[in-house]
């Protein structure tokens, strides 16, 4: 499903070149649960942003569903982000002015799903993350774990093939982390491809395959 070859990304900070990704190669098959693990600043988020079509690499090739990424137009990339990929960010990234329900509804609006259908699917998604009773709360009225679950509901409401999660448990206590991880296992069992980024070995081990990243270089470890 995802094929990455020799991907490089260099940031220029002042005069200094920071190599966030250095000839990284990676293959992810459909229905896999892959974890990417590495210390802070190793390039995990950079990799995820490229996989999620939010960012582009400086060099190397990225093939998504058999088509090189450069061949997609801006509009097609928006559609891919909308339908194929569900993001869960480290910092939740909910829109503070919208209620939980409206945040989850957003990707469906961009898919031009009809109102009644939208309401139904939003309700389902919120039920799946166990937040049906918090639908009308604003993000600021929710705890961190609850916000993250709203973000997960937003990621799964479109039934995307690929779920990208960047340290979804990074800001949460161990109990809530476990709940969130259970949710990911459930999603995996339901046939979703999951790429989960973490710097926690315990969490990385729960995946079927763990990929190590260090200073932008990838090494695979079988578990």
């Amino acid at each position: 499903m995802i094929d990455i070859k020799n991907l490089s990304k260099v940031y220029l900070v002042g005069d200094e070149k920071v190599s966030a990704l250095d000839h990284a190669s990676l293959h992810i098959y459909p229905m896999e649960f892959v974890s990417i693990i590495g210390p802070s600043g190793s390039g995990k988020s950079t990799l995820m942003n490229i996989i999620g079509c939010l960012d582009v690499a400086d060099a190397g090739s990225y093939t998504l569903d058999g088509l090189p990424i450069e061949e997609y137009t801006e509009r097609e990339l928006a559609v891919i982000r909308n339908r194929k990929i569900g993001f869960v960010f480290q910092s939740f990234n909910l829109i503070p002015k919208l209620t939980a329900e409206e945040n989850v509804e957003l990707p469906l609006i961009y898919q031009k799903v009809k109102h009644s259908e939208r309401k139904k699917r939003v309700k389902e998604a919120l039920e799946r993350v166990g937040l049906a009773n918090r639908a009308h709360h604003m993000p600021t009225e929710l705890s961190g774990g609850q916000q993250q679950r709203v973000a997960i509901a937003r990621a799964i409401v479109t039934n995307p093939k690929l779920i990208l999660a960047d340290e979804p448990t990074g800001a949460l206590d161990s109990k809530t982390s476990r709940e969130i991880m259970d949710l990911f296992h459930e999603l995996h069992e339901q046939g979703n491809t999951i790429v989960l980024i973490t710097h926690d070995n315990g969490i990385a081990r729960q995946a079927s395959r763990a990929i190590h990243i260090l200073d932008g270089r990838i090494s695979e470890v079988a578990l």
């Binding site: 939010l54 928006a78 982000r81 960010f89 990234n93 909910l94 002015k97 990707p107 961009y110």
Partner: protein
């Protein structure tokens, strides 16, 4: 579309104070436009009404090419008897000199028939007007206005006095009141004499007894347009169907001048209002730019969950346009209130200042245009943001 409209309303509603302040520019601009133009229109309508009420219920005709069939006074009489138009008042005019106290000054002399009095809506303050017998006998009588009486004779009550115009002595038989109508009101400062159509010919060699200019008034049961058609028909018959042989105009000079002045005034005021609307538009652009920067992260999130460039563009453009249209609506409403108040306050003047539909339409269209034009740049700025940069903005 409806969803993005709702979204725009929400995001405007989330910061009401700022929205109102932003709209203020548009509100004031719209009010300036609508109120000023409506006031001018209201005043014009009421003045025009009083002008046409005072003797412009007529058309004026001038013949430029008689095709060898000149029109004389009897022709005019025939037309009056035959066709169903009102009164026809042929006239000639020339300038001459009037001598009073050994000093000579210029005078405008009209050669007229009795019909002229009614057609022009003149009012006598004393004496009589030109009579048919004056026409028949080519008498040396004249009717002057009050101003002429004071200038040439020295006092107004001058019936029976002699006046020397162009070296010929005329007897004054009537004095016209100067303030009777707006038409004469305007001519009240001029020195004018009216004499029989048949007598004026002696004043100057360049005048012949041919009728080339005349006024036609509408009878009570006919509109000006009907009269115009009737006269056109008669003239076409006479002048071999040549439309260029004569010219008919139904507006008095005064009304022409008035409409010129008001259209200039309307343009001028409209222009000033348009400028203030543009200033309001710049305010909107300013705030939209701030909004876009403030909401960079939101834009990033929206893009991450699948908003395309055009979606973001539409969203912010919609916000700017909605902001403009809200301001426009408020402005129109306030204008309506102001006009109502003005109408009540000056009710003694019997003027009504209603919202002018055309101006409202122009205001709405203009506001829409301003919303689009000034919203486009900020919206485009939002749309062009790279998702990753937007997401990382400010955290």
């Amino acid at each position: 579309m409806i969803t993005s409209f709702k979204m725009a309303l929400r995001s405007i509603g989330s910061n009401k104070m700022r929205a109102v302040l932003t709209m203020l520019g548009i509100i004031i601009g719209v009010m300036a436009l609508v109120v000023l133009v409506s006031l001018v229109n209201g005043a014009t309508t009421s003045v025009t009404n009083s002008v046409s009420g005072l003797g412009s219920n007529m058309i004026s005709v001038s013949v430029s090419d008689n095709k060898g069939k000149p029109v004389y006074l009897d022709t005019v009489d025939e037309w009056m008897a035959k066709t169903d138009v009102g009164l026809i008042a042929p006239y000639l005019s020339t300038t001459s000199t009037v001598v009073a106290d050994g000093e000579s000054s210029e005078i405008t002399v009209y050669g007229v028939t009795p019909e002229f009095y009614d057609v022009q809506g003149l009012t006598l303050s004393m004496g009589r007007f030109i009579k048919s017998s004056d026409i028949a006998n080519h008498t040396y009588v004249c009717v002057i206005n009050e101003n002429t009486a004071t200038e040439a004779i020295g006092y107004i009550d001058c019936i029976g006095e002699a006046i020397h115009i162009g070296g010929i002595e005329y007897t004054i038989v009537g004095v016209l009141s100067d303030n009777s109508s707006l038409t004469t009101g305007i001519t009240s400062n001029s020195v004018i004499a009216y004499m029989p159509f048949t007598s004026i010919i002696r004043l100057s060699d360049s005048i012949s007894s041919e009728v080339t200019k005349f006024y036609v008034s509408a009878p009570e049961n006919k509109t000006i347009d009907e009269v115009k058609q009737a006269v056109t028909k008669v003239l076409l018959e006479r002048f071999e169907d040549d439309e260029d042989a004569f010219r008919i105009s139904s507006q008095s000079v005064l009304e022409d001048a008035m409409s010129n002045i008001t259209s200039i005034l309307t343009l001028l005021l409209g222009g000033i209002a348009a400028i203030s609307l543009i200033v309001g538009g710049i305010g909107i652009m300013n705030i939209m730019l701030v909004t876009v920067t403030e909401r960079t992260r939101e834009i990033g999130i929206r893009k991450a969950v699948g908003a395309s460039r055009s979606t973001i563009l539409t969203q912010f453009l919609m916000e700017a346009v909605v902001l403009c249209m809200l301001g426009c609506g408020l402005g129109i409403f306030l204008s309506w209130v102001i006009l109502q108040v003005v109408t009540t306050v000056v009710s003694s003047l019997a003027m009504t200042f209603a919202l002018d539909g055309k101006v409202v339409l122009i205001a709405v269209l203009f506001c829409f245009l301003i919303g689009v034009v000034f919203g486009l740049y900020p919206a485009n700025k939002a749309a062009k943001m790279k998702p990753i940069d937007a997401l990382h903005y400010g955290g």
